[in-house]
Symmetry: C2
Subunit: 350 residues, 2 copies
DNA sequence: ACGATGGCAGAAATCGATTTCACCGTCAAT
DNA sequence: ATTGACGGTGAAATCGATTTCTGCCATCGT
């Protein structure tokens, strides 16, 4: 199935002109509200921040604000307070359903606590990541939830500034900060052992980039299972790919074209799982012809029962937990940093 | 396949304490840089904004900034400039791959132009949407790309303030602003006609909420095809659901359980398509047993060829185009508003 | 009756960058 | 030689809200 995004377009003329004679009205400020209500700006501020103000003035301020359509300027507020009610969520791939579920979890918790979330997509690129972390800092954001692009993120500036950070999905490499993780090593091992239990002997592994912790840990789990169970072991059966659909596809091709191809494969994330399945479908080798286990849930509707073993991940719950932790920190909790490991669960896709 | 997110977790104790004696260092400011370089703050600002400064002082300023680790404070800058290099992208469902693709397009363009994107998820909720629009305004963001949650978003404040807005995917309801759309009506009609061409006579329609433009337009397209081709027509065959997987699942169940069920169905978005397919799979009625056409690309790797007709959408391209348009507006383009309609394309999933 | 306490409110400082205004040299044009 | 223009620079105003500092007035206790 090929879908081409057509580059052509047509423009529909619209003739009525917008009634905007370039007025660009300024927003009403606290001073204008104060003037209209006959009080000082300080009083207006106090009304909006729940301080003690006489009922009479309070009412007048509210009325004035109402008729002027006043909204407090967040930028000024943030500048003065050195703090804003925004948290940054930095993730490596916004098109990966795992991360969007996670984001959803973060959002729900943050929303409920009156915080907004800004989502920053790093595309597994250190430079983009570092730019977004810079922004979080210089925009006085309240905190950061980070799924790091690699193993050497620079969090010094944020930490010096006392901004809370929670690492999620991927560990905090060298920083002693809160983290919410799944057990990649155990998951990789369990998935591989499940394949072995299904009778497969030559089990390969497709994992992510070498500098991404979850990639190496999952591969380690695979290796532990393979050597622990004394299965056949061939170094060509371990491939470092890129955690993307294409990468999984290419890696799988490489594997099936080996002189002695594996009879099963453990794939270290969901998208590469999709890629690998695509290749197997092309070659008519869909599971159970070749054994497959995937770390993560497949973004798949599988009309035919597919014999794939999954390590199911609590993506949303990961986000919820990370957000909870972060909000606690923001509200002054200063226990020593914790690492919370959520359990994964082996599921046979049926 | 059931995947349960286990609510249990265990905490791994970590003992080493963070070496943060609660110093919370302030960031260095332009004043400190100025003092260290022996110049005025104004000069420091000029150095960082490419104004005329003598080579000597410029060098001294740069050195001072370097050693102090100075980063300009974005909040202060934004307050003064009444403008920031951030654009808001407001979408109704971050878990829908259509919108994440779109977001990806927006991001790529914005990044390249030096803008950051903050992603706001409204969950099809007017209140959340209005809160995010408020934030965009009071945070002095440069512009907004909006896929509206319904047909009565309030953009008055943003427009009064002169902030550019581009509507994407869903029209700008009553505002004369730029829009980037696909032709929902034509797509709905074409999809339905394709089903008719495959020989189906009793074609149902599952669409989205009544107050979402794309939902009603796609249903209109379906109706036009059904009446145009004089197919059998039953009002019970039009169901307004919610654009989500579950909604599609329930709606499809409702349809198959009708006394005279349809022999085909046109589903107005990708997620509901997944839900509908899930139900059909449960009942052993997968296409082509029941005809199906879906508006949008299925977030699916389908291992067995599925006889589903797709109206393929240029999601990423929609985002790219909207971002281009917005950036032009931000840079002062003031042509009359344009509506750009990208073409969709009928694709037979094979 | 007098000092003490506390609630309420305004003037002014503050957050950190940008920019206007004014001033000083220097150099080219008249 | 005088005028004008222009590049470089600093002092101070500015963006809009919060908060400290201060003072006023009323209430309370003794």
């Amino acid at each position: 199935m090929e879908c081409v995004n057509p580059p052509t377009f047509r423009t529909m003329g619209i003739t009525r002109r917008q009634g905007r004679p370039d007025v660009r009205k300024r927003m009403p400020t606290i001073y204008e509200v104060a003037a209209r209500a006959g009080v000082s700006p300080a009083t207006v501020s106090r009304v909006f921040n729940g301080q003690n103000v006489s009922a009479d003035k309070s009412r007048r301020v509210r009325e004035a604000a109402e008729t002027l359509g006043f909204t407090p300027n967040r930028v000024a507020r943030t500048l003065r307070l050195q703090n804003s009610e925004v948290i940054a969520l930095v993730i490596p791939d916004i098109e990966n359903p795992f991360f969007t579920s996670l984001a959803r979890g973060v959002e729900d918790v943050a929303q409920a606590a009156g915080y907004s979330v800004v989502l920053c997509n790093t595309d597994e690129d250190h430079e983009k990541e570092s730019r977004y972390l810079d922004i979080a800092l210089s925009a006085n954001m309240a905190g950061v939830i980070l799924a790091a692009a690699g193993d050497h993120s620079d969090l010094d500036a944020l930490i010096r500034r006392g901004r809370p950070i929670v690492a999620v999905d991927r560990g905090p490499h060298g920083y002693d900060i809160d983290a919410v993780l799944v057990d990649s090593r155990a998951g990789g091992r369990a998935a591989t052992e499940a394949l072995a239990a299904q009778g497969f002997r030559r089990i390969a592994c497709i994992t992510g980039p070498r500098d991404v912790e979850t990639a190496t840990l999952r591969a380690e789990g695979w290796r532990a299972a393979v050597t622990g169970l004394r299965l056949e072991h061939d170094e060509q059966h371990l491939i470092y790919a890129d955690f993307r659909i294409d990468g999984g596809h290419k890696a799988m091709r490489q594997l099936v074209e080996l002189p002695t191809p594996p009879d099963a494969v453990f794939v270290a994330n969901n998208l590469m799982g999709v890629g690998a399945l695509q290749l197997l479908a092309e070659r008519g080798l869909l599971p159970p012809a070749v054994g497959m286990a995937v770390f993560g849930d497949l973004p798949i509707f599988a009309p035919t029962p597919l014999a794939v073993t999954l390590v199911s991940l609590p993506a949303r719950h990961l986000g919820v937990t990370a957000a909870d932790l972060l909000l606690k920190r923001i509200n002054g909790d200063d226990q020593p940093p914790r690492t919370i490991v959520l359990r994964n669960q082996i599921v046979a896709s049926s």
